[in-house]
Subunit: 356 residues, 2 copies
């Protein structure tokens, strides 16, 4: 019997492990266990804070939107920064809400229906900017982009390991390559050859990721996009919407995704649905006044929104996706075995203190 | 030049066709063009009409739920019919609302928090009823099911054409086979080997459809399911929820899907989100009283809900899915090329007159 004692001693020394064995990990337990080093701070400058008029009971309504990082949709994001700095949305309204679709605001008319000219200097963005290439991703943020750099990136991409995804059909966790839009999880889906995460943003991809392959941010619940007229119009960014229903992935590559609501989506999702044409409020009294929209770094230090997200290049994120795809805790009988990209729901939290 | 005249004459004689060529079909135009024979009436007996207390402005709030047809989830559907006939939900509340998840009602407590015993005779349903087999589908609705019948069905399934789906990856339209859960469209997805439509209900399937292969109704926006405690509890059907966000497909085969909201989902989706544990309203004043829940055929003739759905075994439905998956009308630049099952949004309409 004696030979079993060391094992018993080891078990007694690891109560946490013994407990883990009894109850499998849940998405919540994986997030709770993620080390501080797996979280990334979101700069206040990359957040829009939209303050709506209080609700009928006087409760405040604040919606916080994270802007999508470079290289994605930066033409529109630049316009949105300019519009926010000009305080252009102040006095505008949320004026269109369609069930299982979108809540929309902006439109250049204020509460009284007076139109407001756009600030000068907004870019007219080309449809080609709905997507970004692997080259764009590698060279994002550089002041200058030379043919030499592009050549170097092409060589690096070509020299990389053969893509293990070619042989895969279902969710799987692979090693990551920094600054490639391929972090820890990827899957085929009905809308693109691959979906995966880039800096914790869900993106689609049209082919195996060579230097010229295209990537684009996809529409999920709470995604923020740029309303537009018919093609070739691409919208300025002055008129925005947030998704309040099942992911409308058919809009991918057809409308610019510029951000996602990371707090306060319920203030948009619970608004009454519009009964006018295309869900516009036919009763102007239903329009929800926008008190202000500010970039986070324009707010006084104490009011700046401080958030962090779980990095999609971390082991915690890979484990989070794996557990979400294969729930086998006490509530679940049948683990799905897979997951769709919009069901991953990237962990984003208020920061109580600066991460180390 | 003369030889072009017949063509010109033909074009003048077909203004509708000429117009179609200019503007490709949209989902709406396909639905509008569907002949009456492609629509199926929904029997009032297969509908639940839930009347909530009016909203703060006195507007009525009615939610209409279609119950899932046999063979799916019939243990719970039977209980739900019994609960409705007993007027069991009258005086209960909607008491839990979670953003991008569910609105839930029932729970055995009325507005004052008094508990109410369940009616007698409800079945305890087994977890095995989360799925139905191809045999169940073929033999659904029969009073008696003999080994001879099962043998005949097995032979028929085996003798059927080889499944063309084996070689396919993306949305495609194939011919239909009546009474097989495979009507006009099917696709692989992350949650099941196949998803497809059975009598216009989205269902998952675990393998190529031999006689014993399993099918199950899937969770989409507005799906109605049976809340339950931990496994092996499966719920009685007294406590129900409706999905008000992105399809929570991980619940498939883990909770019984018993229906879908076909009108009035906005009365649930716009409710304030609960701030108590698991989204339960901590403030009892937020609970939404249920005035009544009735089966459609219990209502007076004039009030009976009359709806119809586009049959998933019709050419109109196949074209509707094709067009939704490959939008190329004037708004869209890039057709997605595929679609996920919960984005198909089965056309369901109020009937103005009985279909012929």
């Amino acid at each position: 019997m004696r030979r079993f004692l060391p094992l018993l001693a080891a078990m007694l020394a690891m109560p946490a492990l013994a407990q883990d064995a009894a109850e499998p990990p849940t998405p919540a337990s994986v997030v709770a266990a993620a080390p501080a080093s797996d979280w990334r701070a979101i700069e206040p400058a990359d957040l829009l804070v939209m303050t709506l008029a209080p609700d009928r009971d006087g409760n405040p309504r604040q919606v916080v939107i994270q802007l999508v990082p470079a290289p994605f949709s930066q033409g529109w994001v630049g316009n949105i920064r300019a519009l926010a700095k000009a305080h252009w949305w102040d006095g505008m309204t949320v004026y269109r809400v369609v069930d299982n679709w979108v809540a929309q605001w902006g439109a250049g008319e204020d509460e009284e229906g007076k139109s407001k000219p756009l600030p000068e200097g907004l870019r007219v963005v080309s449809e080609s900017e709905y997507t970004s290439t692997q080259l764009d991703i590698q060279l994002a943020g550089l002041e200058e982009r030379t043919p030499e750099m592009e050549r170097a990136v092409r060589q690096a991409v070509e020299a990389a390991q053969p893509d293990p995804r070619e042989d895969e059909m279902t969710a799987d966790i692979t090693s990551t390559r920094t600054r490639q839009a391929r972090e820890g999880w990827h899957e085929r889906d009905s809308y693109s050859t691959w979906v995966e995460f880039f800096e914790s943003w869900p993106v689609g991809n049209d082919s195996r990721p060579d230097a010229d392959s295209e990537f684009w941010p996809v529409h999920c619940y709470a995604s923020v996009g740029v309303a537009r007229d018919l093609s070739p119009d691409t919208g300025t960014g002055a008129e925005l919407y947030a998704v309040i229903g099942h992911a409308p992935r058919q809009l991918d590559r057809n409308i610019a995704v510029v951000g996602r609501v990371i707090e306060g989506i319920e203030h948009l999702a619970t608004l009454p649905r519009g009964k006018g044409e295309a869900g516009v409020y036919d009763d102007p009294a239903l329009r929800v006044p926008i008190i202000s929209v500010r970039l986070g770094d324009e707010l006084p230090e104490a009011e700046r929104p401080r958030f962090r997200y779980l990095g999609s290049d971390t082991a915690s994120f890979a484990e989070y996706v794996r557990v979400r795809a294969k729930r086998n805790d006490s509530f679940y009988n049948v683990p799905a075995g897979g997951i769709d990209v919009c069901n991953v729901q990237v962990p984003i939290q208020r920061r109580v203190a600066e991460p180390k």
